[in-house]
Symmetry: C2
């Protein structure tokens, strides 16, 4: 099912708002059996909406419009559609009463300006909005189905999910199955090498895409046949399993949380260059207090020495960014905070602070379990934020690999 999308709003054209609705709709539609093949963004004006509707490529029978359904004078989508469909809207007394009662419960009075939100089509249909007052419109004009939704992301998503996507599914014989395999600790080229012939599939029914980020590479497998997609995912799994931490929306900190919980182990952190990012990520997961006890952000050398107990001589002899300091940090946070595992990160995040011998990006990560302490050296990038993110991800991955082998 070919679909055209029109997103309406001067704020989108001026770039003050990023059009995340379009991406969300495109992605949901493709997994429901549709395809956005044409997308236009226009300003809040009757003429532009008319012009846009008249430009829809021949062969597209479904049009989704978002934006311009609110109560203000900028919101002209409904008017444009009434005109386009040659329809006369009628006042919906019941809905007006409903809106008034809803607000009076909160001791508020509904302004008269909202009256246009109680208009409903004469010929077309209403699409309910469970979250807000601006309802959607559904018209059939000259063999085309036109759906108009509000631009507020939460409301649009709810209405798409409840009404529009099920309808697209019902109209489509096949839909795209999309699986994402999430990897970290290996570059795109390394993955491609290990995956060998799997990448060079000549099967037109399956598509494999690498999506590299600085914290890892996602492998996206898509196709219309679920069995073929699942087979391909399994094949990839068997070749690069070590680097895979999850699927689809899985987060590394979530996976680690589950593993720690299963093994009944606790974790603490000693962070220098990441400044608390690892603790922040671990505690983004509900229930993380079961396995993450806390940590010490030892940003200054004094805190490393006085509060984390790193030997003064270690700091003097090897420096704060060294394998030796990382080792003591991990061991000491483990013993001082009384956890099963202690994780430490120390590095030069940049932009300043680098030398020829110890350049920006040099990072040591250590993991102590009371018997052994592993320390690894990494050379990341020149950008501070990329270094913090790469360090945190690599540190979390070191915990994952440790737990995998335990």
């Amino acid at each position: 099912m070919k679909i055209a999308l029109i997103t309406i709003g001067n704020e989108l054209l001026s770039g003050f708002t990023v059009d995340t609705n379009a991406a969300w709709i495109g992605n949901q539609v493709i997994q429901s059996g549709g395809n956005i093949i044409w997308h236009q963004t226009i300003g809040d004006s009757l003429e532009e909406i008319h012009a846009s509707l008249n430009q829809i490529p021949i062969g597209i029978k479904t049009i989704i419009i978002t934006g311009g359904l609110g109560p203000t004078h900028d919101d002209v989508t409904a008017h444009a559609l009434y005109e386009f469909a040659d329809d006369t809207p009628v006042f919906d007394e019941d809905y007006w009463t409903f809106l008034q009662e809803k607000l009076s419960k909160r001791n508020l009075k509904l302004p008269e300006i909202n009256r246009n939100q109680a208009m409903k089509p004469g010929n077309g249909k209403i699409i309910p909005n469970p979250m807000g007052s601006a309802r959607g419109l559904h018209y059939c004009v000259n063999g085309q189905t036109i759906i108009a939704l509000p631009g507020v992301p939460g409301e649009m998503k709810e209405m798409m999910t409840a009404t529009i996507l099920p309808w697209i599914k019902s109209q489509s014989s096949q839909r795209l199955i999309v699986k994402t395999i999430r990897t970290t600790g290996i570059m795109e080229s390394g993955l491609a090498e290990k995956m060998g012939d799997i990448v060079n599939t000549i099967d037109k029914n399956i598509k494999i895409a690498f999506l590299p980020q600085f914290t890892g590479v996602d492998i996206r497998v898509s196709g219309t046949d679920k069995t073929v997609v699942d087979e391909k995912v399994n094949e990839i799994n068997s070749h690069v399993s070590k680097y895979i931490y999850g699927q689809d929306k899985d987060r590394l900190e979530e996976i680690i949380g589950q593993m720690l919980k299963e093994k009944k182990l606790t974790l603490t952190t000693a962070e220098s260059c990441t400044g608390g990012l690892v603790g922040h990520r671990l505690t983004n997961i509900p229930g993380s207090s079961e396995h993450y006890l806390g940590g010490i952000i030892s940003y200054s050398n004094k805190v490393k020495e006085n509060n984390l107990g790193v030997d003064k001589s270690t700091l003097e002899q090897f420096g704060a960014v060294s394998s030796e300091t990382a080792k003591e940090m991990a061991e000491n946070v483990r013993s001082k905070l009384n956890s099963d595992l202690g994780l430490s990160i120390t590095g030069i995040a940049g932009p300043g602070g680098g030398t020829d011998e110890k350049p920006v990006g040099l990072t040591y990560i250590a993991l102590a379990d009371g018997k052994n302490t592993r320390v690894k050296e990494f050379r990341f990038l020149s950008d501070r934020m990329l270094n913090k993110n790469a360090s945190a991800q690599t540190a979390l991955n070191m915990v994952r690999l440790y737990l995998l082998n335990e």
Copy 2:
């Protein structure tokens, strides 16, 4: 200057990539004197590019195209433009040699597939790409200026900034001046009330918009006359100065860093519910090691008690989320880590852990300076991430307000 934008890419239509280029271009163009008034997204196909170029509304003489300039078979923008301009491209021997030499320095060989990146227009012009190998194209066809740039955000931005935006400025008599005033600690309605008549300006040359987020409200002032915009900004400043922490891209942690540096004061943190987020934000700023010494992430009660030294009886009598615990956390992190100021946060981030008496969102923030300790109670929201972000922002703002009054 009216401008049409065409962004090309199947990944944009399928929503696997969010079109952030369009927003960036729209925003830069508007501040250079242009206006994107029409934007279309299409797939990687010759026919669609032709159709799109033919749909540009009458009166638009400038067209910017991004995407589809790479070396793969999907990248068809250059071909479409050669056809549209009725031009025959020529092979650029110099550029091909340049590309080969560039790669051979890295011990790499340039694949033959890249030969099309060394083609250049017969009639049109080349737009240099300082960051990558795909150069831009510049054509004049039937009185229209067509500019094609690669879709890689870094390359596109560099080329826009170096070549296209200066040209737009040179063609435009007036451009939009945009100033953003960043506030926190007050809601949109509160700001509007305090600003009074400033908001209801009837001057058509100036526009004021509120952009509320959970961490604060940005006030955007825009207009074509710099003096008028500056006057309005000053007027707003004088009404709500207490809530303003910066302008435009300023970050709260950056402002605090400057203030601490000026006053030669150091800060440490004791974080419970924010789990390290405050430390992370403070250390995002280069040079933060001058004023931020570190902190203790006291996520579990044991760490609060054993490592941060919160009295066992305080925890038992008042609970971990209490004004009393927050007070001790701030005072103890200050004295243990030996800083001028100690900041603490303890709260119920949710989704679990709330009770009737202490619901999700209840948060205590304390700031100790060795003489006094301020503690404040807040009731945030029901969402974990929103609570963490609101808590961190409010805690940082408490430091800002303290330093402002010192």
